[in-house]
């Protein structure tokens, strides 16, 4: 029975758990429940990935209606891979939240926080697994609404503005996607992504379809914070509660990147988007500007969360760059970076949240002398920071390796050089923080004895991610296998049959 419904469970579990968590009411109950559910979903995601790697595609017809009439969940290596990262991060962040949230959110809202987290997780899983363009929009809105809620839960009033901006931008993005889907539907008569891919007829209604493509790309770009549409991200990440930032930074934008990959490769076809529309050049230019502009901005911020937020925008640039290289290796580099960046940023934001937990501020001055007072937290920050820089034996190096390989493969020597040049800026912005932590003395005014290590429930998930950073930096077989077979699937998906369409007719 579980086997049969495996594709639906990662969506359904958190979806159903959300109202139950609300009913449970007590903060600790709903925390334990949410964590348990998320862990189960993670387990299922793992099995799904296994299954997808072994069998290729798993199609699940919701309501028993065959696609394109019903809604199809479609699992392949690509989305199972991202789903695994999302569900693992969700579980770890939930573990971490218990103490972190107690400090940052008032007690009466804890249950609402966990409910919102579950909703967000359900939405993200839905976006990943669905094979239906409109269904994707619905899940996008579920996750977005939950995200706005979580961002606004912080006690800092600026979080309200950040959430409102995010809401306006996010809704514009979603509406753009809605327009794009409408145009596609209009010229094909279907909403199923695979069916869309088969029925898109450029010769017949090219202008409508290209406009649809443009609107979807712009809408998704807002959601994934592609430069210059990233303006909502730094403030949202800075003012949201730490646990929320850790979750969003490592999952939400990644899922949006996946959506972009999905539309480019599955729906429109890489030949059309990159070949005849030339979008690879646009994406590449934007990605490179994002890498440098935002890395630079990260080096001049004083709030560490803002530093990391800008770094996120830059890192998204790397993912998009991978996609824009139009090769299986490039796509694979992008996918691997989705997974790896989740590990790094999750750990980094958790460490920053731990600092906030003890010190009450995340300004760079608050990090002074923490190397002594919070050695474990800062060690975690250091390792994850090195990973962002791309030091060997961390996941960051693996990502960078594949990205540069892909660029060289395409004879894009300058791009390869720029990728490596971008990591130099990472040296600066991570280095500044580390220097403050290890080589500057704590100002005397603050009572230094009070600052000690955070509770183990915050340290454990943080270190789990740090160890994952090292583990997947050394043993790359899982990530490489998943990402490369995912990339291959995406590149040759057109030959795949559409669900069980044949029997249905």
């Amino acid at each position: 029975m579980l086997e049969q419904h495996l594709a639906a469970l990662p969506i359904l579990l958190p979806l159903i758990a959300a109202p139950i968590a609300l009913i449970l009411g007590r903060s600790s109950f709903s925390w334990a429940f949410a964590t348990l559910i998320s862990a189960c979903a993670c387990l299922f995601a793992w099995q799904l990935l296994d299954l997808a790697l072994a069998n290729g595609v798993i199609s699940y017809e919701v309501g028993g209606w065959p696609p394109p009439w019903g809604i199809e969940l479609r699992v392949d290596a690509a989305n199972a891979f991202v789903l695994l990262a999302v569900s693992a991060l969700s579980t770890l962040v939930l573990l971490y939240s218990k103490d972190s949230i107690e400090k940052e959110i008032e007690a009466s809202k804890h249950t609402l926080y966990y409910t919102a987290h579950l909703l967000c997780f359900a939405g993200l899983s839905g976006i990943l697994l669905t094979g239906d363009a409109f269904n994707l929009f619905v899940f996008l809105e579920i996750s977005s609404l939950a995200t706005y809620t979580m961002v606004s839960l912080a006690s800092d009033r600026r979080s309200l503005i950040a959430a409102f901006r995010y809401l306006v931008m996010g809704t514009i993005g979603a509406t753009f996607i809605l327009i794009g889907v409408g145009l596609l539907y209009m010229s094909t008569g279907t909403l199923n992504m695979l069916d869309l891919a088969n029925r898109i007829d450029i010769a017949e209604s090219g202008r409508t379809i290209n406009t649809g493509l443009a609107f979807i790309m712009v809408g998704v770009s807002i959601k994934l914070a592609l430069f210059p549409l990233h303006m909502w991200l730094p403030s949202a990440y800075t003012y949201a509660p730490s646990a929320v930032t850790a979750f969003l930074a490592s999952t939400a934008t990644k899922v949006a990147v996946y959506v972009m990959i999905r539309f480019i490769f599955t729906v429109f076809g890489v030949d059309h988007v990159f070949g005849s529309m030339g979008m690879d050049l646009i994406l590449m230019a934007l990605a490179i500007v994002a890498i440098f502009k935002c890395s630079y901005k990260a080096t001049v911020q004083s709030d560490v969360k803002t530093v990391l937020a800008y770094s996120s925008v830059a890192q998204i640039g790397y993912m998009i760059l991978g996609i824009s290289l139009v090769s299986a290796t490039g796509l694979m580099a992008g996918l691997i970076h989705i997974f790896n960046h989740a590990l790094m940023k999750g750990a980094l934001f958790m460490a920053v949240g731990a600092v906030f937990y003890r010190v009450g501020s995340v300004d760079i001055t608050a990090f002074r002398g923490l190397g002594k007072q919070m050695p474990l937290t800062m060690a975690a920050f250091t390792i994850a920071g090195l990973s962002i820089i791309g030091v060997p034996l961390t996941v960051g190096f693996v990502s960078k390796w594949y990205l540069v390989t892909a660029a060289l493969e395409q004879n894009q020597w300058i791009v390869a050089a720029l990728v490596l040049g971008g990591s130099l800026l990472a040296v600066i912005y991570i280095g500044r923080i580390l220097e403050a932590a290890y080589f500057q003395e704590r100002p005397d005014s603050q009572n230094t004895t009070e600052i000690k290590e955070v509770p183990w429930l915050m340290l454990a998930p943080m270190w789990a991610l740090v160890l994952a950073n090292i583990y997947f930096g050394v043993d790359t077989s899982l990530t490489t296998e998943a990402a490369s077979s995912a990339a291959e699937w995406l590149f040759q998906n057109n030959e795949m049959p559409l669900g069980n369409q044949a029997e249905a007719k």
Binding site: L408, L420, S423
Partner: protein, 502 residues
């Protein structure tokens, strides 16, 4: 070495890397009791040396050792392979680690340094990565441990924790990390995408089918990417790193770290480009002359420095370029000279640094101008200094003679008279900035000017330090009279020979 006979040869490699690593962990574990901690350090160092000797034994009998660890990327693993050049470097590094450990114990105690556990731990980690660099079987492995070495020595450079140390550390990490990421990694990956392999192969992995211009660019990238070789203008980190405690400067910034740099360059030239291919590249000569310029310029800078460690640092920059030049001459004799210079310069320079540290501990003097007449009070130290200086200059009967000899022959053979001239001038400059120090210390007691300090309180440095510096200065002598094992080892490197091409 009977000690390790029962062990599978390939395990010797992992043993040589793991030993210092385990040592580092043990140092942390025994951090509470200094005696135990230092005993652990010493024992680890000695055991490591025996392991390296066993490897040497095995290799000199013509055995081959290889070890494949983990497949990092499909078709690319972290792999190790023993070859003569690596053994040479490993021998030098592991032997000098023993000596330095003895020295460091005296120094750290005599100087009452803080955070000694962190010091010894990072030290052992650095040695671990040096061993891995020595035995690396491909460029990827080399690159990875090159970075690990940079990171593990960073806490050592900033050990003092004051502003100067932080500034020095920032320059150190900044230059080494940026050059390695921006140039070296790029060069490594470009090599991979061009040839599909990163293995070190006798005769190189590039051949005539590759675009010469691309290879020329790669050569420049490699030379500057390996920032540890301190070719101008990326040499600033080396003087900056002198803020570290003297044992660190001695072992790491005179031996392990900088030698890891030039070792990597030699390795790239011999096993990636291949000496034959190297001759045809347009940029070989350019880099060669930059190396020559580095030799001369940094010697000149050294003369202006009054701080003893700074002077030694610039001397190191200059001596490193000897090796780079040797490699870039692309002749088998010059390469042999370069390889030998790794060993001979190591013993010479470490002696000088030991002396500098001994002087600092004993008299708290850092500047050369204040060392006049010191020879009376610290005769052993200053005698050792003289021996080391002569070795660096390259005069018999000291070890440095051999390497300079082969380098010069190599330059002559390659018809690079400018290089020959530069080597000569540089030797003169060496004399000018090194010899006055012991000379003044011993003979120039009556300057007439009243000295604001008195030597009456100054005694020789603590015994461990004296032992250490005596041992290394002795080595300078011994290696002059018995260079044969090293020369044999060097001759085993494919394409490299002290006999010349014929």
């Amino acid at each position: 070495m009977n000690l390790w006979q029962g062990i599978e040869p390939s395990q010797l490699i992992s043993l040589s890397i793991l030993l210092p690593f385990v040592g580092a962990l043990l140092v942390i574990a025994t951090g509470k009791s200094p005696n135990l901690r230092e005993a652990v350090t010493l024992i680890t160092a000695i055991v490591l040396f025996t392991v390296v000797l066993a490897i040497y034994d095995y290799i000199s009998q013509g055995g081959e050792i290889g070890l494949e660890l983990i497949e990092l990327f499909p078709g690319l693993s972290i792999s190790f392979e023993v070859e003569p050049l690596g053994v040479l470097f490993a021998l030098v590094a592991s032997f000098l680690w023993i000596v330095t450990s003895v020295y460091a114990i005296g120094y750290m105690r005599g100087h009452n340094e803080l955070n000694q556990t962190r010091f010894f731990c990072c030290f052992a980690l650095a040695i671990s990565s040096v061993m891995a660099i020595c035995f690396s079987g491909n460029l990827l492995t080399l690159f990875i441990f090159y970075e690990v070495l940079t990171l593990s020595t960073y806490p050592l450079v900033t050990h003092a924790g004051n502003d100067a140390a932080k500034k020095g550390g920032r320059i150190y990490l900044g230059i080494l990390l940026s050059t390695s990421i921006a140039f070296l990694l790029f060069a490594v990956m470009a090599t991979y995408s061009l040839t599909g392999t990163l293995d070190f192969r006798a005769g190189g992995i590039f051949d005539d089918s590759h675009n010469k211009i691309v290879l020329s660019v790669l050569l420049v990238l490699f030379c500057y990417g390996i920032g540890k070789a301190a070719i101008m203008p990326f040499h600033r980190w080396l003087p900056a790193a002198m803020v570290a405690p003297t044992p660190v400067s001695a072992l790491l910034h005179a031996v392990a770290v900088v030698k890891a740099g030039v070792f990597s360059i030699l390795k790239v030239m011999i096993y990636i480009f291949g000496l034959d291919e190297l001759k045809d590249l347009a940029t070989t000569d350019i880099m060669l002359y930059i190396g020559v310029a580095t030799i001369l310029l940094s010697s000149c800078i050294a003369m202006t420095k009054d701080n003893l460690k700074a002077r030694l640092a610039y001397s190191t920059v200059s001596q490193l370029s000897y090796i780079v030049v040797g490699a870039l001459l692309a002749s088998s004799i010059a390469s042999a000279g370069a390889a030998l210079h790794i060993a001979t310069h190591a013993v010479g320079k470490i002696t000088l640094f030991f002396c500098a540290g001994a002087i600092m501990v004993a008299s708290h003097k850092k500047n050369i101008s204040e060392m006049v007449g010191l020879g009376r009070q610290m005769p052993i130290t200053m005698a050792a200094f003289a021996i080391g200086a002569i070795s660096i200059i390259g005069l018999p009967p000291m070890a440095g003679t051999w390497s300079k000899w082969y380098l010069t022959i190599g330059a002559l053979e390659a018809d690079k008279l400018i290089v020959v001239a530069a080597l000569m001038i540089s030797s003169l400059l060496n004399i000018a900035y090194l010899l006055p120090i012991p000379v003044k210390a011993f003979f120039n007691t009556t300057t007439g000017e009243a000295e604001p300090w008195s030597w009456s309180e100054t005694r020789e440095a603590p015994l461990p330090m004296l032992i250490a510096l005596s041992v290394t200065s002795l080595c300078c002598l011994v290696l002059f009279f018995y260079p044969q094992p090293l020369i044999d080892l060097v001759n085993m490197i494919p394409g490299v020979s002290t006999q010349g091409e014929g």
